[in-house]
């Protein structure tokens, strides 16, 4: 019988949750690396027992941990993230030039085919790659060296490369999303990049439809429809059907189109999920009601999913990497909150259950579907 393993990164450690395919009883293991921030953990699609974790604190910096037994034991691998050449400057909050400085790894994206190949999206925004299981890292510097790089500015959370999407149809095509620069695409395995932000409008920047400068919070793709991308921008939910060449807004009837995560149903490429948040200054759900919104039409028409979610006095946030789906039938949806809850639905979002209530603030959730 299939089973599900959830990898939950929090402000104070990592947790591994497992359940059989019914997804009613969950075993919780952890915290691993107690006291450390775990921005992200992700397993290799080619070998699910190979898991990478980004571990950091302000005191002792960045570590990468690797497990080869599904998260039971871990070993630290390489943590030397050095920008290629003279990194130069980007633009600071106040508009002045600021040196590129490595802060942390936000996101780890293992190759679809090779367990030893893994990409890391880092702050200050850059893309790194390891081809030896995380022991050594090299920057794919063409992204940071894009001519627009000196104009990139940080969002409130820092200038981070937070999303990496790999096209399952074309190993040379990959996407990276940066707050607050926008989305970039490579069609040559990272050797060159170009911004793909046409159609985005952001009224918080001087030129609201500029080529770069948009605070993209998260992008998502269904593996069987890799030309269709969904985006939760700072404000606005967006969709592209041409690999990011152009975007159109699909916020539709959402109560607010500000938010962080966005994800796609495992078996219904037009079914997508967001968690509307009141605003960029009020990082909590509207009216204190935690609602996931689902669209079965790829956007524009949204329904609130509330069954099992707190509908009063709820003032948590759901961060960009803190939502995931499994591949079982019916599709499981999971998300974690800054209040330390992890919610699970085993029926595509119709009903929700808190499977953890008192974790540290959740930074990331990934789901592995195991045979």
């Amino acid at each position: 019988m299939s089973s599900v393993r959830l990898l939950v990164g929090t402000r104070k450690g990592a947790f591994v949750l497992t359940s059989d395919g019914k997804r009613t009883d969950w075993k919780i293991e952890g915290p691993h690396f107690g006291g450390w921030e775990i921005y992200h953990m992700k397993g290799s699609p080619a070998n699910p027992n190979r898991i990478y974790a980004s571990q950091s604190t302000s005191w002792f910096g960045q570590l990468i941990q690797r497990s080869d037994d599904g998260g039971a034991t871990w070993e630290p691998v390489g943590n030397e993230f050095v920008y290629d050449g003279q990194p130069g400057t980007h633009t600071w909050y106040d508009g002045t030039p600021h040196p590129w400085e490595f802060a942390r790894v936000w996101h780890l994206e293992p190759s679809l085919h090779d367990p030893d190949l893994v990409y890391a999206g880092v702050e200050d925004a850059a893309l790194f790659r390891s081809s030896d299981g995380g022991r050594n890292w090299e920057e794919l510097s063409a992204l940071r060296r894009h001519p627009s790089g000196p104009s990139w500015q940080p969002g409130a959370g820092g200038m981070c490369l937070h999303t990496i999407l790999l096209d399952p149809r074309d190993p040379a095509r990959m996407y990276g999303a940066i707050s607050a620069a926008g989305v970039f695409r490579s069609d040559d395995a990272g050797a060159s990049w170009r911004p793909i932000n046409r159609g985005l409008r952001s009224n918080g920047i001087p030129d609201e439809d500029a080529e770069v400068g948009h605070c993209v919070h998260r992008i998502a793709m269904h593996p069987k429809h890799p030309d269709t991308l969904y985006m939760q921008k700072h404000w606005d939910v967006m969709r592209s059907d041409d690999g990011g060449e152009s975007w159109s807004e699909v916020s539709g009837n959402l109560p607010t189109d500000f938010g962080f995560p966005i994800d796609v149903h495992a078996h219904e490429p037009q079914t997508i999920y967001v968690v509307p948040i009141t605003s960029d200054s009020q990082h909590f759900p509207p009216d204190g009601r935690l609602r996931v919104y689902r669209s079965r039409t790829g956007g524009n028409e949204w329904e609130a999913l509330t069954n099992g979610l707190p509908q009063e006095h709820c003032y948590v946030n759901v961060l960009r990497d803190a939502m995931a789906v499994d591949k079982l039938d019916s599709c499981g949806i999971y998300f974690g909150t800054t209040g330390g809850q992890v919610y699970a639905s085993s029926d595509s979002g119709d009903h929700w259950t808190a499977i953890a209530r008192d974790f540290p603030a959740v930074l990331s959730v990934e789901a592995q579907t195991l045979p």
């Binding site: 006291g35 450390w36 005191w59 002792f60 910096g61 960045q62 570590l63 050095v82």
Partner: protein, 98 residues
């Protein structure tokens, strides 16, 4: 014999309990001590000082003999009591934040 006391997080990372003890040949300086420590425990590289600049991380402090040696030049000799193992060299996570 040099004695080093690591903060709890780094003891866990290096999988050691209590003090770390080792011999160093040559002059006993902060750089020589940290080089020797990282050589024995490579997982500590980058956690105490920056990989590239070799500067102490901002929230890390070095104490010994009831003195803060954090701002001493890294090639200056450490106190004789550290060099002869009478006193430990403390790597400390600064009290900051939560």
């Amino acid at each position: 014999m040099i004695r080093v006391i690591l903060p709890a997080h780094l003891r866990a990372l290096a999988r050691v309990n209590g003090e770390v003890c080792f011999e160093i040949t040559g002059e006993i300086t902060q750089r020589a001590l940290l080089d020797a420590l990282e050589s024995r425990y490579p997982m500590l590289r980058g956690t105490i000082r920056d990989h590239v600049t070799q500067r102490r991380r901002p929230y890390v402090r070095f104490f010994a003999c009831e003195k803060d040696l954090s701002h001493q030049p890294c090639d200056a000799p450490l106190p004789q009591a550290v060099a002869d193992g009478t006193e430990p060299f403390l790597v400390v996570g600064a009290m900051a934040g939560g």
